[in-house]
């Protein structure tokens, strides 16, 4: 499954780093500006879809294998639940933010404890969901 098209290939080669950077920006600036795990993960996943559309799914398989994305999909969700259980283990409610995670100074990049970490987990999960979905829809030539 591949576009044999020079325009798509060239444009993808130029624009793909910016797509990935924008996706990571959306995830890591979640507590400072609009964005979040869902939107950022979707952008990163779409970047991978564009990559495998223009260079072929077997090239994408070398960068991020089918099995790895399926594993990331599960561990993103497990990270979320684990962070929630940390609150229970230290004697607070499920998914507690303030006493369990240090809040930091509002406005800094590394602040707001649970909000940032949970959104990273969500971003991993959403991105790998889209990649796994695309791979399993168009990946019959994988094995």
């Amino acid at each position: 499954m591949k576009f044999a098209d020079d325009i798509v290939n060239t444009v993808t080669r130029i624009i793909l780093p910016f797509i990935m950077l924008f996706g990571f920006y959306l995830i890591f600036q979640v507590h400072l500006s609009p964005g979040g795990g869902f939107s950022g993960g979707t952008v990163i996943g779409s970047g991978f879809v564009l990559f495998s559309l223009s260079f072929g799914i077997s090239v994408q398989e070398k960068k991020l294998s089918h099995r790895t994305s399926a594993l990331l999909e599960s561990y993103g969700g497990l990270l979320y639940i684990f962070l929630g259980l940390l609150g229970v283990l230290t004697g607070y409610n499920f998914l507690t933010n303030n006493p369990v995670f240090p809040l930091g100074k509002p406005g800094n990049l590394f602040s707001s404890g649970l909000v940032l970490i949970v959104n990273i987990g969500l971003g991993i999960k959403v991105a790998s969901t889209i990649i796994t979905l695309f791979d399993s829809l168009g990946g019959e030539d994988l094995e």
Binding site: G84, N97, S112, V115
Partner: protein
């Protein structure tokens, strides 16, 4: 005849729904049920309580984090269902191919 009954029922349902909408509180009016103490708590205290300047992400991943966990579970269920459906089809195809090959060898 069937069509007439269907249209009549649809018009009836539509009138009922429009009646319900006309009973709803006006948008943005003071004293609406949505304007309670919750939004005051969010607008005044969310930065202090969560350390997040973005109020929307403070709500969805701190105050309503359990809700978002459900959302992530929906994603997981979707991908599990797609995987089960499509990958079983691929496995069937592979098995059929293998069987055909074997059969060909026998002949």
């Amino acid at each position: 005849m069937k069509q007439t009954i269907a249209i009549f029922l649809l018009v009836l349902i539509g009138i009922g729904l429009l009646n319900i909408i006309s009973e709803m509180p006006k948008f943005g009016e003071k004293g609406n049920p949505a304007q309670n103490e919750i939004y005051e708590r969010y607008t005044e205290k969310s930065q202090k309580e969560t350390g997040s300047l973005n109020m929307v992400s403070a709500i969805i991943t701190d105050y309503r984090a359990f809700d978002t966990l459900g959302e992530a579970t929906v994603l997981f269920a979707t991908i599990a269902a797609i995987y089960a459906t499509l990958m079983s089809a691929v496995a069937h195809k592979k098995r059929d191919n293998n069987r055909n090959k074997k059969h060909g060898d026998d002949q």
